[in-house]
């Protein structure tokens, strides 16, 4: 069951990701990216990260990508123009990519022999007895407001800065 789920959604994710890259029209890429995110959310659930799955859909699919789509509509961006080129990319890009992918896969295989198996609901934390879910809002929230309080605060400041920056950038030029 788990394996089937994984295979289905992994396949969807990969196909959508490829679609993101190959589609010429931004909005198609955007929607494929939404597909990737949705399937990733399911995979998070499979990994027992309920909160993160929900956050993934709400934040990424529901907010960020909507913003993308919105901007694409606003700029009415058409299919991209095929001009401008870069030797670097042409001759270095593909081999590098393939090499990188192979390297990554190799390391994964070397460093993670299949001793840990992912089962649905199999995610338990150190201090908790089995059955009680560890990826729920409680655990994440507790960790967020105790161990990771400082990063949390810093992020809030970052967001404030981002808001101000966005406003400054996007506001009308005041003559």
């Amino acid at each position: 069951m788990d394996v089937i789920l994984f295979l289905i959604f992994a396949a969807i994710a990969v196909v959508c990701a490829i679609n993101v890259v190959v589609q010429t029209h931004p909005i198609s890429s955007a929607l494929s990216l939404v597909g990737v995110m949705g399937s990733l959310a399911v995979l998070y659930l499979l990994l027992g990260a309920e909160f993160i799955a929900a956050a993934q859909v709400i934040v990424y699919a529901g907010a960020i990508m909507v913003l993308f789509v919105f901007v694409i509509m606003l700029l009415n961006a058409g299919a991209e123009t095929r001009k401008g080129r870069s030797l670097m990319v042409q001759f270095l890009g593909v081999p590098l990519l393939i090499f990188f992918l192979g390297l990554a896969a190799y390391f994964v295989q070397r460093m993670f022999p299949d001793n840990t198996m992912v089962r649905f609901g199999g995610f338990t934390c150190a201090g908790m007895q089995t059955g009680e879910s560890c990826g729920g809002a409680e655990t994440v929230g507790r960790a967020l407001f105790t161990t990771y309080l400082l990063p949390f605060e810093v992020t809030s400041v970052l967001i404030l800065i981002a808001i101000i920056g966005a406003i400054v950038l996007a506001r009308k030029e005041l003559e």
Partner: protein
């Protein structure tokens, strides 16, 4: 008992006036400035009332200021009888002078600035007096230095004023250097800077150490209290407004040195060598300053030199172990010298800016209140009983006689000189016929009322406040031989001085000029202040300036440091221009480079990690 309130009030006054003063009306500025000082005076009184019999000292700890290793400096305030005397003088005389300043500064620019500085000065002075350790005292010490600098240069659009301010500041730095060294030594030997601890351990220390400390402290005191060789800044400091001269350069700040030496009497009593040095310096200063004062024509300059010489007396007192007498003279001097300066200010104000004695005269009918109040100060400084100065100066001289007769005799002669030149100034100002062209007008009551109060104080102050009696338990007892001859002699000296002056400037006008012509060489010498400024300029200032210009500026700064900086910049530019070739401006090629780097990092890590 809320000692912190005493310095805090002037600080608040400073902040309020300094920040908002520009928009305030004069009335509001006065309210803030005077109110803060008067309130802190009232609080001082309340504090004293709350202390019952003043035999026990009070220490209040507020917070730990500096804590590093063995060094533990707390922000503590400390009150004993000596502090009380100083507090009363500072806040009392300070309030009077503040009030006087309302009238004197009425037509000056930068009104709010003036009062803000004045309040700031009060704050630092009170810190100096209240501080329970040398560092806190030093904070106040530097603070009053700063304020005196600011106030001397108050008329910053006048070149000589700013120069005088710089001079005062720099000369004081020399003294403070000594003070700082003294503090280092104290901490090194006693592992503390608190008065209590230091004085408790001081008797245990070796005599050389204490002597060294004492001498270094004395250097600081010389700087602050304008003793030889560091007195040169005080006469120039008269460039500031007259209330400043009265408050800072006569009544309070310049006596800080005396206070500090008296505060550390334990150290000095165990270092007789240092005490002798102090006494000698004191007597020398007293004498030289008095002689210079003989020939000055600027009324404020005269009083400035007399201040220096009176401070010399105080040092004599300290040096000959009569700390109580020194403080007593400090108090009385605060009264009559403040009065003299304020009176001088009133005269200047009356003559709308005229400061030269030669253009005055016969003013006694024109500005009565000033004249009569100043006459009391004249008695006091001339040491004629029953005025205040008589008692304190007499006590000092008696102690000096017990210490060494030579000092006593010079002191007496100086007293005569003092009486002479003060009388000269008085006669030239108030007697004879008027030689000026201005139309004198009496000052407003806000100015002469403080004069009158001070006048009364300088008349009866000595008899009423018997400071040595009050400080009996603070300082070691001094053996004062009941020697009426000495008293008579000093009174006689004063009287002779006055009579001589009267003879030369009232009964036989023109006699002074004849004498000056007769003894032209010594007259020139003292008229130009023994050329001390010129000597310092040649021996100290010029070499330092030249050295720093050539070596420090041209050599080290411009040559070495700038060279390094520019060199770094240049190399960076070269490297950058080398890397600029990579910058194709094509973002995707950058990305490719980034990918390349990432892969390289992974490979390296893999190899380093041994491909686990």
């Amino acid at each position: 008992m809320q000692l912190w309130l005493i310095p805090l009030l002037p600080l608040l006054g400073f902040l309020i006036n300094g920040i908002f003063g520009r928009r305030f009306s004069k009335g509001l500025i006065n309210t803030v400035a005077i109110g803060s000082v008067v309130f802190s005076f009232a609080w001082v009184l309340k504090t004293i009332a709350g202390m019952g019999d003043l035999n026990s000292s009070v220490t209040e700890h507020y917070f730990t200021w500096i804590q590093s290793g063995a060094l533990n400096i707390g922000c503590d305030f400390f009150v004993d009888r000596l502090t009380i005397v100083m507090l009363l003088v500072v806040t009392g005389v300070g309030s009077l002078i503040h009030i006087y300043a309302i009238g004197y500064m009425a037509h000056e620019g930068g009104y709010y600035r003036f009062f803000a500085y004045l309040n700031l000065f009060m704050f630092f002075m009170l810190m100096l007096v209240l501080g329970a350790n040398y560092l806190l005292l030093f904070v106040g010490w530097e603070g009053v230095g700063l304020c005196s600098y600011l106030l001397i240069g108050f008329y910053f659009d006048k070149q000589f004023a700013t120069n005088a301010g710089n001079k005062a500041f720099i000369v004081n730095r020399i003294g403070d250097f000594g003070f700082a060294l003294a503090m280092f030594l104290i901490f090194r030997n006693f592992q503390s800077l608190d008065f209590a601890t230091v004085f408790h351990q001081a008797p245990g220390a070796t005599e050389q150490t204490l002597t060294l400390i004492g001498l270094l402290l004395m250097v600081g005191a010389c700087g602050k209290s304008a003793q030889i060789p560091l007195y040169v800044w005080l006469p120039d400091a008269m460039a500031g407004p007259t209330p400043v001269s009265a408050l800072i350069h006569a009544a309070t700040m310049v006596t800080a040195g005396v206070y500090m030496t008296a505060r550390s009497w334990v150290i000095y009593t165990h270092a007789p060598g240092a005490m002798d040095v102090i006494a000698i310096i004191g007597v020398a200063t007293a004498f030289f300053a008095a002689t210079i004062g003989l020939a000055q024509n600027d009324i404020k300059k005269v009083f400035a030199y007399s201040t220096v010489s009176q401070l010399g007396y105080m040092f004599i007192g300290v040096g000959s172990g009569a700390f109580g007498a020194a403080i007593w003279h400090l108090v009385t001097h605060a009264f009559f010298k403040a009065l003299l300066f304020l009176g001088a200010g009133s005269v200047i104000h009356a003559l709308s800016g005229e400061q030269d004695l030669r253009n005055m005269g016969g003013l006694r009918t024109k500005i009565k209140f000033t004249c009569f109040s100043m006459i009391f100060a004249w008695w006091a400084i001339s040491g004629i009983p029953p005025a205040a100065g008589f008692y304190s100066k007499d006590a000092i001289l008696a102690a000096a006689y017990a210490h060494s007769p030579a000092i006593y005799w010079i002191g007496v002669f100086t007293a005569g000189l003092t009486a002479f030149y003060v009388s000269r100034a008085m006669f030239l100002t108030f007697f004879g016929e008027y030689r000026g062209h201005e139309h004198p007008h009496e000052s407003p009551p806000v100015m002469w009322v403080p004069l009158v109060i001070l006048g009364v104080l300088s008349l009866v102050g000595g008899a009423v406040f018997n400071v040595p009696e009050f400080l009996k338990y603070v300082f070691p007892a001094v053996v004062e031989p009941e020697n009426h001859a000495l008293v008579m002699i000093s009174i006689a000296a004063g009287a002779i001085g006055i009579l001589l002056a009267a003879w030369m400037y009232v009964w036989q006008p023109g006699m002074a000029d004849k004498l000056a012509a007769a003894f032209s060489a010594p007259y020139k010498l003292i008229y130009s202040k023994y050329f001390v400024d010129e000597v310092y300029d040649a021996t100290v200032v010029k070499p330092v300036v030249g050295g720093s210009r050539l070596l420090l500026w041209k050599g080290i700064d411009a040559g070495l440091i700038d060279g390094i900086v520019n060199g770094v910049g240049g190399r960076a530019r070269d490297i950058g221009s080398a890397f600029r070739l990579l910058q194709s401006g094509n973002i995707r090629s950058y990305a490719a480079w980034v990918l390349f780097g990432g892969v390289a990092v992974i490979v390296v890590m893999g190899i380093a990690g041994g491909l686990r």
